[in-house]
Symmetry: C2
Subunit: 461 residues, 2 copies
Amino acid sequence: MNVGLSLFAEAIAAQDRPVADVEWRIPAGGDLEAVAALRRLYGHRAAAIDEANAEVVRRLDSGVPLLVGLAPAAEVVPGLGDRTIIHCGPPIGWADVCDPLRRSIRAAVMAEGWAETPDEAGALVEQGEVTLEPANHHDTVVPMASALGPSAWVWIVENRDGGTKAFSGINQGPGETAWFGRETPAAVKRLRFLRDVAGPMLNEAVGAANDAAGNPLDVFAIAAQGLQMGDDVHMRTQASTNLLIRTLLPHLLALDSPARVELGRFLSGNHLFFLNLAMAAASSLTAWAREVDGSSIVTGMARNGTTFGVRLPGSDEWHLAPSPPVGHALYYSGQGPETSAPDIGDSALLELVGLGGPAAAGSPAVAGFVGGTMADAVKLTRDMDQICAGRSSRFKLALLDFRGTPIAVDVRRVVETGITPRINTGILHVSDGSGQVGAGVAVAPVECFRDALLALDRKLS
Amino acid sequence: MNVGLSLFAEAIAAQDRPVADVEWRIPAGGDLEAVAALRRLYGHRAAAIDEANAEVVRRLDSGVPLLVGLAPAAEVVPGLGDRTIIHCGPPIGWADVCDPLRRSIRAAVMAEGWAETPDEAGALVEQGEVTLEPANHHDTVVPMASALGPSAWVWIVENRDGGTKAFSGINQGPGETAWFGRETPAAVKRLRFLRDVAGPMLNEAVGAANDAAGNPLDVFAIAAQGLQMGDDVHMRTQASTNLLIRTLLPHLLALDSPARVELGRFLSGNHLFFLNLAMAAASSLTAWAREVDGSSIVTGMARNGTTFGVRLPGSDEWHLAPSPPVGHALYYSGQGPETSAPDIGDSALLELVGLGGPAAAGSPAVAGFVGGTMADAVKLTRDMDQICAGRSSRFKLALLDFRGTPIAVDVRRVVETGITPRINTGILHVSDGSGQVGAGVAVAPVECFRDALLALDRKLS
């Protein structure tokens, strides 16, 4: 019988002797400060924490995010100033903003009409005439290097049981787009198309799509079907997008304006259209969960391309670490790690509610990134099981006999095992503004979870 | 070591003795006439048959069915007489037609305007004033209890490599519809809606959806994606339908007529919209394969609710057996085997080209019918492996490390093993005209394969 280091077991096996190997690692990698905190948080404080965690799991699992419509951010997003651009990830000063996000912010400034050129736009931000704020601080989440001005139209998702609302921009689609770190005229034009054409028309179609009793669309009911159709609902949202389009079809066809054809071309070519809606839905639930004090479940996780941050319930504090590179990547031709920006975007919050990495076992497309077989994808889901406190009752994995995906990342388990959330994500060019260069699976840095664990331990002391 | 009957192995195992059990069954169930034919067809005739089979596999696997448009059957379906109704399955006289197909035929007669009531319609057929013909005899395939008159609009699918064309009606959708054996005013109205509204508008949208080089849509490219998204592309075509709708979206939105909204409502509510298109595509390939003489691969398989028939290449002969009941069924409330009509429709040809039963391992929805787990669905695919001569290079199974689905059912293997194609299908009410009562997996009757085997043996002698 061998416990721990497999070297010993291998030595015995090499002598043709039977050996039973028990996987065991030193908790928290032997970090004594973390071990001491874990002893308390798993010890006399465990009962209170577990109770709070159970409530967080309940909220993440049972909340029903409803799509109530779209509107300009200035009209609905709380606390949004006049000359403000909101961006992905934790708070950051202009000097530290990475290249793709800089370009996206400048594109958003130009889309607002505050500047004509990227240089003018950058100068306005540098001089403080345009304020930068994290979208997360305004109940809003945005994917990749997204940045939004006050005139941008946003999805409005409402969790009525919890009394929480969340917002997200309209997905900008493939190609020459600001969320991929581009600031070309075409990228600015796309932002204006979303504001002037797509936003108002989608709002009309969504409003007409309420059911007979007047209930809005249940966003996670669509995501749950999409998961049965190969979506992880993060890296791939093709099935969910198509389901949404089919649901909206009669109402899109009822639109009077001939511009509906342009909207149709945009929707038809955008596999990731559902992504932002899923993110707003997830955010409406993490916002509800964040109200539960004394829990060790992560309820915020976002990256701005420079820092990676997590948040715990009952606190506005961000626990930060440098944004990691994206691993397990497949690159476009001529691209590689050396041309890749670090992990970026708010979409990582999907991994907290059972989508993305935790849902890998439901997605042949994700399998392509983590080894090629469904067994590799199942391994990713099982890794997430080890750090999660619950299982989704709506997101089911056919391959695992329809059990739920792991939800609710417990910071104690992350620090204890050293396993961090795996995040299915795109990759942007690090510096030349050429946009997406690939996609892969990012491994969240353990340092910010350790920081969160120690803060929780201090708070409860 | 036990070979064959597991009883002996079980007896030894019951005495706690080790036993290795080799699965072996008497070929063709010990049917001496069939065994003699098999000896010849697997013996000195094997090389010629295998060569013909390889060509059939190549045609079924490599043919590219293109969607070229829609038109009234009278204008495009070859050999269609003026006062003719074409129906599913092998040829049949009115006296032997089962209840749901009778109702559907009467609905088609009324939709043509030849009669006002079901009684009038039935009398016209009975008196021979309306002729019944199998759709299969006119390069056309129709699902469930479908029947079509000359004014019905049909999908036109072309296999340009093979110079073959095939046709299918537009799927009639859920509810009160003739293909489910209903003949109500609503069912007749639906047939007229398909003819007057859906057909012409879909043709306009499909024509506009050709790619930049003017190439029409590749139907099986859509089906292959749908298979990665949980469709078996027979019992479930939800993903393929959504992919088709997303592809057509800009062109649907460009339609001038306000009736496009009605079309949108119909498409939005019809999960099986893609089914008929997949069938026409399959038929364009089996028609090409049927030209290969001396092959033992089944290239026609259809049921009219009374008889189940198969056809071999190089012959127009139908080999018949009674239509079986549909097993592994899930029924609507209050329904069961006693209220179920036998297996019906031309859709079984999908099982010859690697869709439906052979694709079960790709479809969580099918798993629900054959035991509940993906392991059960995999078992169904592996059973089909045993009777198929090839594997699809386009229909891939993620769960089996992306190997292809089994294609090309070899009548020799069917008779040798007693394993027959498993067909994922719907079930209709046996007598009261209330429509669909459930869905399940039908087991093709071995007798018609035996008859085909003996005919092949005679022909080659």
